[in-house]
């Protein structure tokens, strides 16, 4: 049980009215944002027949499963079963929901209730997420740092790198860029990030060989 925050996605990658897949430890998540902008992170599985809710559709303040249209409100409570339109679903039918918070353009998730708010990085905001086929420690090393939040200059641009373990040899890399960064600086950051990914993956292959 982790009660610390994990960076799971960037706010800009889950716009209002959409759902996207995410991870928390070894669990799959459906991260979605309502029409009014509220974010939620749930188990990525419809309790009815196991369809991934990250493939679902958002209408208003509810997420519906794409398979049979079972509809769930903000807290994960089932509010509509279309095959049985006269039925008011019981409280018992709900999708497990995780703690979720946004700061500096990052969507943070946790299992349980962390004692503190997720970290904010003054002057920075979410820029780009990448997946890297290398463990978190190798990605951190390639960034010249340690841990899961590293301040580093990538090319000419200062950045914050949040590293999310996605399994033994896969990581998510969520990059934050200065709010004031010019478009050219962001382009350079993108190029540097892809170079970093190549180096981390090459380093990983070298180790495995």
């Amino acid at each position: 049980m982790t009660t610390t925050w994990t960076a799971a996605a960037l706010s800009q990658d889950v716009p209002a009215g959409t759902a996207a897949p995410g991870r928390l430890g070894d669990r799959d998540l459906a991260i979605w944002r309502s029409a009014s902008g509220k974010i939620a992170a749930w188990a990525d599985r419809c309790p009815h027949r196991g369809m991934r809710l990250s493939h679902g559709f958002v209408r208003g303040e509810a997420l519906s499963c794409i398979y049979h249209g079972w509809r769930y409100g903000q807290t994960g409570q089932c509010i509509k079963i279309p095959a049985h339109p006269g039925l008011e679903p019981p409280d018992a039918i709900r999708v497990p929901a995780f703690a979720v918070a946004e700061a500096s353009g990052v969507i943070w998730v946790a299992d349980g209730a962390p004692a503190t708010a997720p970290p904010a990085f003054e002057g920075f905001t979410g820029f780009r997420s990448l997946q890297v086929d290398a463990p978190a420690s190798v990605v951190a090393e390639a960034l010249g740092g340690k841990g899961d939040a590293i301040r580093a200059a990538l090319g000419p641009t200062p950045a914050v790198a949040l590293i999310q373990p996605l399994g033994p040899d896969r990581s998510g890399l969520h990059l934050l860029a200065p709010l004031s960064a010019a478009p050219e600086a962001l382009d350079a950051l993108s190029v540097a990030a892809e170079d970093l990914r190549r180096r981390a993956e090459a380093g990983q292959k070298g180790r495995a060989a």
Partner: protein, 276 residues
Amino acid sequence: MRHQWYPVGIAAKLPDSPAESLLLGERVHIGRAKGGGPQVTDAKGRALPVLTRFGHVWTTLGTPERDLFTIPEADQPGRRLVDVGTVRVRCSPLRAVENFLDIAHFPFVHTDILGAEPHTEVERYEVEIREDSDEVWATKVRFFQPQAAKSAGGGITTDYMYRVPAPTCSILYKTSPPRPGEWDVITLFVQPMTEELCQVWPWMALFDDASTMTDMIHFQQMIFVQDRSILENQIPAKLPLDPGLEIPTRADMTSIAYRRWLKRHGYTYGAQLVAA
């Protein structure tokens, strides 16, 4: 499930040189015998039993106790027989059949074709395991459909019957739009490649004099590609025979009857025995 017949190809489109495929995890080759007829060999090069029916070549790795099932309605004169082709799906072969038996997904997966909101209600229908034929049947199934078939001009309430005569085969009978007194026959024959990979071979025997063959094939392929996005994203990948982590309702009666029948016969290739 070794002693069952499985589809492995379209009889009219057999490859000139043997094509490799998988059946129940074992390598097989499908091609032509010297006389031009179908030939299927196992990994050791031995010829497996073959038969041709419903436009498809069928084979088995074991010794089936029964002949392959028949579909008497398909022999009625005036029907057009359609080899739809094949779609490979990263899912349990049993999940592919279960999805085919489901009507409640029509408004959400086949939107504005086989179903549309607000017509989402699944009325009570009848389900039984017929003891004489040892088949699963669902009858008196009714659903409103905006475009039930290529031949349908507009929305109609369509009557359905579903039949499962073999663990990876299902037949649906639905109101024929041009001939409301007759049933169109649409089948889903599934080749179990592994427990989590299958090749589906839909086949149809329709009353439709207006549509071109290409149109009818494209219509059915479009429907199946829509289903594939569901089938490859269900958790767990195998079909649960314990619904303890699911919430089946009366609308899922056909699915439950199918799973009961699999459980009773021990047809568990592609099944998950405990709730997961």
